[in-house]
């Protein structure tokens, strides 16, 4: 049976999943510590089972934002495997992976970015916008766009952020968590996507760097 192999390193410790292209027989495995470099491919072998790559027809990878090193390791593995096996590669953004299907806007998908960065994609009407920064900055941006009294469906939001949103008068509706481990959520989403033209076209999203230049250094 033709299978999709999904690899994630952005949304937590490294995980891998395999699923039939028709959505059947999902299976997944996750690391127990930060050892993607040492054991990531062993996890891939585990989910593929005895057949190995024989039935793999497609590969999927989370493109970020997320943990800096994990994201790069997973992306490296996925691109290399797709390139070496001449397989189509589907890149899925972290926001898409955590967002539930069929929840109407306003909807915010939260991802924990590199170095403690909070990243959120807000769907409002037909638009989508992204904000990255400290918790308070991200909450202020959301509140600014929504206005007090607005209802917001939230996927993947950390506790502290939910509390801050509440303080600003935003009525939060929690979405059910996406499947675990992340590679399994990725696999299901990837089945609905078209692969990139080639593996080299799949790029990482590290979230914003705008704040690096934002603050003036104090002058003595």
């Amino acid at each position: 049976m033709r299978t999709l192999l999904a690899i994630d390193g952005a949304l937590g410790v490294f995980s891998a999943a395999a699923i039939g292209l028709d959505g059947s027989a999902p299976r997944a495995a996750a690391a127990t510590r930060n050892d993607a470099l040492e054991r990531g491919l062993a996890l891939v072998a585990e989910v593929l089972g005895a057949g190995g790559f024989e039935d793999v027809a497609r590969i999927a990878v989370t493109t970020g934002p997320g943990g800096f090193t994990g994201l790069r390791i997973a992306l490296s593995y996925a691109k290399s495997l797709a390139f070496a096996r001449d397989l189509p590669l589907v890149g899925v953004s972290s926001y898409d992976v955590v967002e539930p299907d069929e929840v109407a806007p306003p909807l915010a998908a939260f991802v924990s970015g590199r170095a403690g960065l909070a990243c959120v994609r807000l769907r409002l009407g037909n638009d989508a916008s992204v904000e990255c920064g400290a918790d308070e900055q991200v909450v202020a941006a959301l509140a600014g766009r929504l206005g007090a009294g607005a209802t917001l469906a939230c996927a993947g939001a950390p506790e502290g952020v939910l509390a801050r949103l509440g303080e600003r008068g935003i009525i939060v509706r929690l979405c059910s968590p996406s499947p675990s481990p992340p590679a399994l959520a990725l696999a299901r989403k990837a089945l609905q996507r078209t692969p990139a033209a080639n593996p080299h076209a799949v790029r990482a999203d590290y979230g914003s760097v705008a704040y690096y230049t934002r603050r003036e250094a104090p002058r003595a």
């Binding site: 800096f68 090193t69 170095a115 760097v209 934002r214 603050r215 250094a217 104090p218 003595a220």
Partner: protein, 142 residues
């Protein structure tokens, strides 16, 4: 509340001594920005801090390597942003990862990317160059 203290140094030894005094205040998780013209003594100052914390230091300026980690307790990360032209370069190099709760981070040319350092950091500005005296201004976060 921030305080800025100014001192002057007429020799390398005096500059280093000021670095040693600052080292005594540093705790894991602290970051220190080191500003000054080429040749002002930023690297000398940084190395004095590392020697004070570790008893010895093993490397020179990280201008070409961008980042050097001094192993020890606590670890000291020494960054040099002189050759960073674009914020995405710092991203690609993973320089953010240097700022860990267990490490002390010294950053030369922090003004290239001031937002890279935590808000509550020490800011050191060394004035002067060549054989002349130096002025050292230190802004403390606490």
């Amino acid at each position: 509340m921030k305080t800025t203290v100014r001192a002057s140094a007429k020799s390398v030894a005096e500059l280093e001594r000021i670095g040693v005094e600052l080292a005594a205040e540093l705790r894991p998780g602290d970051a220190v920005g080191l500003s000054g013209a080429l040749g002002a003594g930023k690297t000398t100052f940084a190395q004095a801090i590392v020697r004070a914390l570790h008893g010895s230091e093993d490397a020179a300026s990280p201008t070409f390597t961008f980042r050097h980690t001094y192993r020890g307790e606590p670890p000291v990360e020494h960054l040099d942003l002189y050759r960073i032209d674009d914020p995405t370069e710092a991203l690609e190099l993973g320089l953010e990862e240097a700022f860990r709760p267990d490490a002390i981070v010294l950053v030369e040319w922090p003004e290239r990317l001031p937002g890279l350092l935590p808000v509550r950091s020490f800011w050191v500005t060394i004035g002067g160059s060549g054989d002349g005296p130096r002025t050292i201004a230190i802004e403390r976060p606490r």
